[in-house]
Amino acid sequence: MSVEAIFVIVSFTAPKEIGANPQSMLWLLPLAAAIAVVYKATKLPTITVRNFIKEAAILFGSIVVFIIITALALYTLAWLITE
């Protein structure tokens, strides 16, 4: 087994250091992208590269926008309660 392969395998045996900070919220982006891609792969009647990328990008954008709106609404609610 090559050194590179061993390095890749070993990287899966120890957790990464991720702090509980605002930047860690960015981990939702790849997840939203995965959900958009798989959902569109199951829903589109025919798959062409351009149409698929367009549809998945629209769904990804919709998910992110909805999350941002929800976050702003919750932030406003928390601000109204605590102020």
Binding site: F12, P15, K16, I18, L31, T42, I47
Partner: protein
């Protein structure tokens, strides 16, 4: 004759569902939906691997995990995940805190996406069988 056709249809749907569960995208591949199967396989495996990369293979815990996580990540995902879980029994790969959370969210989402694809593959198999039976 009609009964036999119905039995074949049920068997076909069962095989497609089983294939889709064993390997993500294999159900669609069996239905000759190659583009879909490649996209599904790549995305689900990548999502699962990101979860393992962030949280380590310690996130696949057959003993100490909560029931929702066992259901989503270890039953909905391919049974190969359960085999992987046997490696981590006994707490050999401890993981806590934020990496554990992110790892569990990613691996369980991969399980949910796999469930979506299983249902979709079985539905497509049902439609194909109905079309064939209808002439």
């Amino acid at each position: 004759m009609a009964r036999r056709s119905k039995e074949n249809q049920a068997l076909f749907m069962l095989i497609v569902g089983l294939l889709a569960w064993l390997v993500p995208g294999a159900g669609h591949f069996a239905l000759k939906e190659k583009k879909r199967s490649i996209i599904i396989f790549a995305t689900i495996v990548l999502t699962f691997c990101v979860g393992l990369y962030v949280g380590s293979i310690g996130v696949i815990d057959l003993v100490g995990a909560t029931p929702w996580y066992v259901a989503l990540a270890q039953i909905m995902n391919s049974p190969m995940v359960a085999l992987l879980g046997r490696l981590t029994t006994g707490g050999a790969y401890p993981v806590y805190g934020w990496p554990n959370e992110i790892g569990q969210i990613y691996t369980s989402t991969a399980g949910l996406l796999n469930l979506l694809c299983i249902v979709n593959a079985v539905y497509l198999a049902h439609l194909r069988s109905a079309e064939t039976a209808g002439g």
